[in-house]
Symmetry: C2
Subunit: 360 residues, 2 copies
DNA sequence: TTGTATGCGTTATCAA
DNA sequence: TTGATAACGCATACAA
């Protein structure tokens, strides 16, 4: 009885008690602190004892308890990754797997673990962030999206907790936060200008919700290009999806219906996401509208399967992987040197010309 | 000097010291243990003091330190999610985002966090698993893949550490582990039989590496269907991609070249992954081979964009989301009741007929 | 170069 | 119903 009670004190895996720093210490007849120093590879421990301790650790199968270490260190060596509110849907967008690929890579290289947000609503996610911060679960936070009225960034800022945004801040001075982003304004401007150059004047714009900063930027790029070309902007040519529930490709499909019902149909489309473009293409196919013969399309992101659309789509490669990789690089820097000034990085994009556009 | 030293003892966020259980205790003039009991909502604390303590927690802004709790509890309320070796590539496959969607959902509902593996090689991932287990980082592990010669499962089994496999075990008695899977043999058998029914006799098979159990099962289903139909199996009709480095759609493309170079071309193809099928379709398009007129194709997974291929592909919906959701459900059960017998769940699939097949 | 003592923030045991 | 105390496993300031 007493026995089993005492047993519960010790952490076990598979019935055998975990070996701690003390066990190792006893075995070599040194103090626990010495063992601790050996683990930290302190320069103030003789090579000889280091050797002895290390052998004992091997023999006993010692592995550090990370919770204990975190408690003492006030550091966890893990990064919190915050997915968008619409993760349930947008996770289907290859954008996120791809950022996470970049994130994983850099995190692994620098020996950081990844802790993922799981909430589905804005409020839920905010609670998770608070838990990560107050609970000491992570050393820093990587935000994978930037939306209007976001409460997370102000919170993190006020708490002075290390974080990096993938995207552009909104309602916050750019100099006050570290972020990694594309120049989406310029990107979409270029894309639109490309269409203009091909002789198109009636150009539609299909995108997601204006709650996302990226949408705001894309729209601005589109408008700027038209303005510069002295083409007046027609509100009916701009279709923005507000419904979070809708799958992203559905958005594309519905937008096409809207645009193609117009009396004066556009001859070209700027679509801000490749998956949306897949939806656009499929709907267009159903309607018997040929791309690029009847309608030209430029897209964005250059997700892996983008080249496989029919016709293969012209799109902007935004280097999603780099966004993630650099995001954690900057975050780790911030974690290690909290006092360093905020930095920003604009990751370049590249126009990938394929076969969804035609001269008019 | 001494001051700043002392300062470092206390965990801080944003310059202000974290409030601990002790601070709350002092404020209400109770002992820390009482506060702890209030947090656990122990029935042996009077409602009155509970109320007082709770108010103090609110006023002071108390949040539990999760590392301390984990240390004391020997539990972390987090699940380790192990991605495949080929994560860098396969992460691009919408399969993984979709399982993770299911995983996130259930984890959130049951208040578990997610800790992601980041390693890129078999050995790296194995090390991560050991760290998660020995380091006490997670309470259980969810394996997202099942491969031949895998060392992780035997390890977890030996350590008697809670884990659930999404997929089917190999070299391990099915009764000895808990897993969630599709009946891939039957699935591919059905798919092949569908082709057979349409009159096809020359049926090719395109898939990934036989290192993965899922490939083994798919291949068996294919062979069984042919055998039952008394059609002899031609080795040259079976194209398996062994190269991990290759993108999955590229695999599809290359396989097409191989198959279409054959003197006697197949009239139908069984492809085991929708993204691969995208590759197949694109290459076929380049070659001027029409689907389904010249060649019929069945696929598998029914990933979100599958309906957007041209032609829309006939595929098997394997309920990826459920795989993830049920996976963590079973895992949490195992964590909570380690002594319960192992369970297995076969998630149903469903044939989604679209337009990539034709009677011959 | 090493040991002692203490603290990190909780939970749990035992006593009151 | 509550409090004192020890313990979880590790790291570090200070002493030796």
């Amino acid at each position: 009885m007493i026995q089993s009670t005492r047993d519960n004190k010790k952490r076990k895996v598979g019935g055998t008690a975990m070996v701690t720093i003390k066990d190792v210490a006893k075995r070599v007849n040194v103090s626990p602190s010495t063992v601790s120093r050996v683990i930290a590879n302190s320069s103030r421990i003789s090579e000889k004892t280091k050797e002895r301790v290390r052998r004992a650790m091997d023999e006993l199968g010692y592995h550090p308890n990370l919770n204990a270490r975190s408690l003492s260190n006030k550091a966890t060596q893990t990064i919190g990754v915050i997915m968008p509110i619409t993760a349930q849907y947008s996770f289907q967008n290859p954008f996120f797997p791809e950022v996470i690929r970049g994130i994983s890579m850099k995190a692994y290289q620098d020996n950081y673990g990844l802790y993922l947000s799981t909430g589905q609503k804005e409020e839920e996610i905010f609670e998770e962030v608070k838990q990560m911060v107050y609970g000491g679960r992570v050393d820093g936070i990587l935000l994978l999206y930037s939306s209007i009225n976001d409460k997370i960034m102000p919170f993190l800022q006020e708490k002075n907790f290390p974080f990096v945004l993938i995207g552009r801040p909104h309602n916050i001075d750019e100099n006050d936060i570290t972020f990694v982003n594309n120049d989406n304004v310029k990107k979409t401007k270029t894309l639109t200008e490309y269409l203009l150059l091909l002789g198109h004047k009636k150009i539609g714009f299909i995108s997601g919700s204006l709650d996302y900063v990226v949408t705001i930027d894309n729209l601005e790029g589109y408008k700027t290009a038209l303005n510069n070309a002295n083409i007046s902007i027609r509100e009916e040519y701009i279709v923005l999806e507000e419904n979070y529930q809708k799958e992203i490709m559905e958005t594309g499909q519905d937008a096409v219906i809207e645009l193609m019902s117009l009396e004066e149909r556009p001859t070209a489309l700027v679509v801000t996401d490749d998956i949306m473009t897949f939806g656009v293409l499929s709907m267009l196919g159903e309607m018997g509208i040929r791309v690029p013969e009847d309608l030209s399309i430029v897209s964005s992101n250059n997700v892996m399967i983008s080249e496989l659309s029919s016709p293969p789509m012209t799109t902007a490669d935004i280097n999603i992987y780099d966004l993630g990789y650099k995001g954690v690089e900057y975050l780790i820097n911030k974690i290690k040197e909290p006092e360093l000034p905020e930095k920003k990085l604009i990751v370049p994009y590249k126009l990938i010309k394929r076969q969804s556009c035609k001269k008019i």
